[in-house]
């Protein structure tokens, strides 16, 4: 057998494997710790997990089919509904992909606005993750803190484009909205506001004995497993792989700002927590530079209103808060995309769940689902 056999998930419809000590437990789809509608079937020996099977698709809306029946511009708002806690990143990936297809580049000011909004969104996404993840493990307070602070990000979004979550902030060719008066000041004020708050989250959790015991050594995924399973984002970096698409293949204006890629070594739940916290600090650092360097000029490139990309196909991906978010677009020369394939980070990362929880306890499954930072809207599309 190939080494891949160890990644094979269980076929739980085959009930013959059960001996007297084993049982099958259904978790979800309506379970608070599954962050949406994820159903996990667990095969257990007492409290020990022997294997899992994920049942997904409850939120399937056929986004890729819809794309084939809309024009390139009309499809733009739909992508916000996939990863709805990081809508800006979705929009950024889609707009950049179509721009690549029509060979247009957004003007420098738009590139920096994109970086600012995408990083604010990364902060918002990580704060949702931290709050809910800590809540799953039993610490209630961080949820209140993070949602309070995330609110300020959403206020900036609302002032910028009128929407809080599904922002549709970008258009193909740049940003349709100019930054409002005081935008830069708001962002800088938020940076100053947030930095002590991150310290506060850390003072609640990093040294907390319960937190450490619940997360250290739990859900270990090493670098080789990450690569084999296609896992990207903070999960990969926590396993010691210094890889971030913002550095590896820079897009927008990420090549003009300085930041580090935080990594950790053990690849356990605690390390992923540390990596994401460090990423938040790096985001603040990027925000300060981007605001400082924000050039003047137009925010939209010249894009024909009737968009007919030449025949061809491209793949473009960005570093979304959860990992590599890619779009594979096939154009047949008409106004509608012939095929839009979304490569969702949550979907691929969720595949690692089985590997991570084998041999662990049921309570760890909850911790691992939280640490993978999945959004079911993106898993199911």
């Amino acid at each position: 057998m190939s080494p891949s056999a160890e990644y094979k998930t269980l076929d739980l419809h085959d009930q013959t494997f059960l001996d007297s000590n084993e049982m099958v437990l259904n978790m979800g789809p309506q379970h608070p710790s599954t962050h949406g509608v994820l159903r996990v079937i667990l095969k257990l020996d007492g409290e020990k997990v022997l294997g899992t099977e994920c049942v997904i698709g409850y939120l399937h809306r056929g986004v890729e089919k819809i794309a084939e029946n809309r024009t390139y511009v009309q499809f733009n708002p739909y992508v916000d509904r996939m990863d709805y806690v990081a809508a800006v990143s979705n929009g950024l990936g889609y707009c950049e992909s179509v721009e690549k297809l029509i060979n247009v580049e957004a003007p420098p000011r738009a590139q920096f606005l994109r970086v600012i909004l995408a990083e604010l969104n990364r902060l918002a996404s990580h704060m949702v993750w931290l709050g809910t993840h800590a809540l799953d493990i039993g610490a209630i307070t961080p949820l209140f803190y993070t949602f309070r602070d995330r609110e300020e990000v959403l206020k900036i979004f609302e002032k910028y484009c009128g929407a809080r979550l599904t922002t549709h902030a970008f258009r193909i060719g740049g940003c349709i909205y100019e930054a409002y008066d005081g935008f830069e000041k708001d962002v800088l004020k938020y940076c100053d506001f947030l930095e002590p708050k991150i310290d506060e989250y850390e003072s609640l959790l990093t040294g907390n004995r319960i937190w450490v015991q619940r997360t250290k050594g739990v859900g270990i995924l090493n670098a080789a497993d990450c690569k084999a399973l296609g896992v990207t984002g903070p999960v990969l970096r926590a396993a010691g792989v210094k890889w971030d698409l913002r550095k590896a293949q820079p897009y927008a204006a990420y090549d003009q700002v300085e930041f580090d890629i935080p990594t950790a070594q053990n690849g356990d739940t605690f390390d992923r927590y540390i990596v994401r916290i460090q990423e938040m600090r790096q985001s603040v650092r990027i925000l300060r530079q981007a605001v400082d360097k924000l050039p003047a000029g137009p925010t939209m490139a010249k894009v024909p209103k009737v968009l007919k990309p030449p025949v061809g196909r491209i793949y473009h991906s960005i570093e979304a808060p959860k990992g590599e978010l890619g779009y594979f677009i096939v154009s047949d020369g008409s106004t509608q995309p012939y095929r839009v394939r979304v490569r969702p980070p949550s979907f691929v990362n969720l595949q690692a769940l089985d590997k991570m929880v084998r041999g662990a306890l049921i309570a760890d499954v909850v911790a691992v689902i939280g640490t993978l930072d999945i959004v079911l809207g993106e898993v199911d599309r």
Partner: protein, 235 residues
Amino acid sequence: MPDEKSELDKSPQQANNGLAGDPDKAPEKTVNAAPATAASPTPPPPPVAPKPAPAAAKPAAPAAPPKPAPIAWESPLVASLKQQYGSGIREAAIYLKDKYLVVDKSIVFDVLTRMRDDETFDYCVDVTAVHWPKREEQFDVVYILYSFAKNERVRIETMIKDGEKVRSAFSLWPTADWLEREVFDMYGIEFTGHPGLKRILLPEGWTGYPLRKDYGIRQQDQAWIKANIGIESGQ
């Protein structure tokens, strides 16, 4: 600036009106007349519509992007693959910085194996498909690979007929498990050697493959909905 844009917007409609004759807008008609006459036998002119428009709007603007075309991809990797497989490598090109190979279905697994083992493409980014109902080989199966060592991405495509099977890439990259299940779910393409090929996003027992072009956007498996949800239709 806004005026120019609205002109851009109008140009396709005006091209139609041009035949009826609209004497009010003589200067613009000279611009639009060319596409109008060219469009009458309806060839597929994707670049024609956007191309003359920016030129008419503002000649000094750096826009008017040159029409991109695939250029031949030449590298030691491609050379050695061509030497080994000959005409099995149907195309090796770069389009808008995307490197891709189109290979024959008989050797696709070998090429993938080689990419992983010899060329350090250790991360399978995506497996997907595209449906072309009018072609004899109806489906493109697309693999997107990435090499951490080289920081390079390559797309490998192959074409298969309806009903033909592809060897699963699960033994090379376990991540292909769910990705191939999704392709099976949406296109009905079967992968041999897959550890558990079944639907993933749609419920088991659903009939039809939604991302095929002949599957309508409002189409549903009415019988399944009636039996499992107990309503006439979801619409």
